[in-house]
Symmetry: D2
């Protein structure tokens, strides 16, 4: 038996980065795949790993170099990564692919995430009679204007206080009309706009705090609603500790994680 | 033993509709859930189905009423459906929920679907040296300007000729640079814009024909590309035959299906 | 500009088939992909479709030939399809891929679908005190022993009465313990076994009827439960009408659809 | 405005655990959801977080207590977690839900994961003639018999050498027949069995090493195959560092992560 074509790499490395500007931030949300080829036959046939750059190292390299090199020139960053991987002994070919999600700018430091948004309508008739509407999948992100500190600490608490952090959430909002507006589509847009504007306009001390203010704003905007239910899963973007690699963290490179997530639910009522 | 709370319904009924206008079409893409409660204890305990409106009938009702009643007033359509279901013998409560996806208008009859779009970059260095870019998940839909007719027929062919049909596809495009442009992000935008503009500007005789023209447009727009690879899965919106219900089909109600799909792939070269 | 490599095909064609035997049925659940190459340059450059076998015809061919040719010899069926597609004028290469899901035999005509099954536990303490358990994703299918007939008919009803049909569902079951059993894992297995055994042992007149009997069986098996909640989405396998192609339907070829689905929910109580 | 019903929690906390036994290990793979209610109105209305147990702490608590308390008595572990969360000041209600995936025992320390497995067949005819088969989604896990050490280290390498680690992968295997066997279904089962048996029988120094041996075993079992292609994504189960909480890690609690993953590909030929 003999070894044929082979490669090794790391797939689905997610990295996000704030490009801090003067008053205006830009934002990148990229998924990276690294694929290497080289002189690693002995690793396969004899278990000799001396030529096998660990895939964990590939991942770390992505974060380690992102702080300095990740810009909107994706091809440039990919090229920079390839060059780095080619310095590893025995590596003869490196392929790096990046997939960038788009975020639509809403404010100088705020973005709306693309695509999964849905308008929802729920109507019940018969033994019960109600007309409700809602939003699902409205993804909002701001690079500043959010804090979380002053929380209780116990033996399992390692989270640091954050006075200013990146906040992202996928808003689910729902409400039942106490009196049906004449134009439900326009009313829906009014609620959506109130939620978005408030999210970006007001700084918050927690997701709970942010959500409560958003609920207030929605109720203020639309008199036909008595209460609004909000579900605000926290789409965590964890600061990636590049100091392990002898680089000072510049406050701009993050690891977005989809599991687990903080799961915040609340109802805001007119009183 | 005894029966407790129960309900029956139909979930994930997908319906799309063209709102034909004078020169300008609007478009709705809705997923419907129907849930009924009523006097159906005997169905559970004795297998007596006389009170069980079939879930297939619920589905048909959605399509049957969509032609006349589905507008941007989702709550109105849901209410209309509830009322219809309450006319069924023994039904005491009907709940209808709708989820509407958003499509961004691009032209009078053209729309860009939200959200899954990605910019892709793939760079290889070492024993091979190439820089490539691409687009994934660019969803385009036009209500007119697409045909498919004149194809060969055999014993298994039942498809009717269509001289003007709705066309939707999720574009994947990829290319390798023969000479690297100075601004890859701007170049990417130029390719994307050429693909979108051409899709909406030119009528096609097939997905293949549409794709070939899009490829031509991309190559014309960007001299640094020698060839472009296109993958254009056909997101079928099947005309829903409402004539079975004694209603003449108005050419505007469709059943979007995700499985199976026509799978069109091609490369367009500079010659 | 010129046309480079190209192909067309149909992806994700789902077909299921009962292999009727003497007292024992076997079952196949296959997803098919067809990919053709041939002399279709004119379709791309001139919109001339005379050589373009429609992807809808490819789909129909899969169902049309499945009745006679789909066996556990997947490669043989794929080969048969390739040969058929090569008879189309101008087709020079045909590739057919099949993916078969596995179903574990449970009885002579009953199968358990693989894999997504989960054991669930939900415990609440504090202002409320409850211990509940459940099952998610238990997929059951039987080729016989299920009917649906005698239901009400209206203008939108086209469904035919079925005195014996294929029935498949993904069971979600949940219950709260009125008194906590000493071994919750063993008790969970007892409920699971009761649900499965009853599904396969008893014929039903509807999903509602099947579910009620399953609930009875679970309550009979486990005295610590007062009631059980069941969610039984109908995983429709639609008989595929091959008679359109001049072939008599043998009652064994189906089109499994994931959207929409009949959505049946009920609670069975101890009295 | 006023605050209505509210809760906070952590969803999709994934934890796996080896239950080490005398010669025989058992394995748990659980997803946890925590949901709390309590006196946190001030957090919503005033941004006062003194009562808000961080969701990150909830996550840590799951791992911190799993080492001692997670057994097959899921309800018992959920109850233990609830009690812990109720000790936090102001928390009045805790709900913990667990979802357990099932793994089928294959050896004393080896398991096959459920469900996504597919048998694949790919046949090409016309200008090319080939018959190939394959497996997708065969998930294998062993609690011992796998190492990864002796790899090169650079500035971005923080991975520790592991002389004995948990190894899990979702096997994709594909091969083309050089001579078609008379019974392709039986031959497929022979390849599958060879891959599984070898994975559990032989210790490996890396995924590459494991894969090469599996390929050798498949070729040895089936003479009609000249080479086999393997794709072995590493389903990482990261040791969770409970020492941060003053607990010594017992080598049995892991954090399974789906993103990113090591992506190992190879071909093994007859020579």
């Amino acid at each position: 038996m003999a070894l044929g074509a082979n490669s090794w790499g790391k797939s689905e490395v997610r990295v996000s980065k704030i490009h801090h500007g003067a008053g205006t931030d830009d934002f990148s949300d990229v998924t990276v795949q690294v694929r290497l080829e080289g002189d690693v036959a002995a690793a396969h046939t004899d278990g000799d790993n001396r030529g096998v750059l660990p895939t964990d190292t590939m991942r770390n390299t992505v974060y380690g170099l992102a702080q300095e090199h990740l810009t909107k020139d994706l091809e440039g960053f990919a090229s920079r990564l390839c060059e780095r991987f080619l310095t590893a002994s025995g590596v003869t070919k490196a392929t790096v692919s990046l997939w960038e999600r788009s975020w639509a700018r809403e404010t100088a430091t705020g973005f709306v995430g693309g695509g999964s948004e849905r308008r929802v309508a729920t109507v019940t008739r018969g033994s019960e009679d109600s007309t409700g509407s809602g939003i699902e999948g409205l993804v909002l992100l701001k690079t500043t204007g959010s804090a979380f500190s002053g929380f209780p600490r116990d033996a399992f608490t390692v989270l640091a206080d954050a006075e200013d952090r990146l906040l992202a959430t996928s808003v689910t909002a729902g409400w039942v009309y106490s009196s049906l507006p004449s134009d439900t589509a326009a009313t829906w847009s009014k609620v959506r706009r109130a939620l978005i504007d408030d999210f970006f306009a007001r700084s918050s001390a927690s997701v709970q705090h942010q959500g409560y203010m958003m609920g207030e704003a929605a109720l203020a905007a639309v008199p036909e609603i008595e209460e609004i239910t909000l579900h605000l899963p926290n789409q965590h973007h964890l600061p990636f500790d590049v100091s392990r690699f002898g680089v000072e963290w510049a406050g701009n490179v993050f690891h977005p994680v989809s599991q687990p997530y903080g799961d915040i639910r609340l109802v805001v009522t007119r009183d």
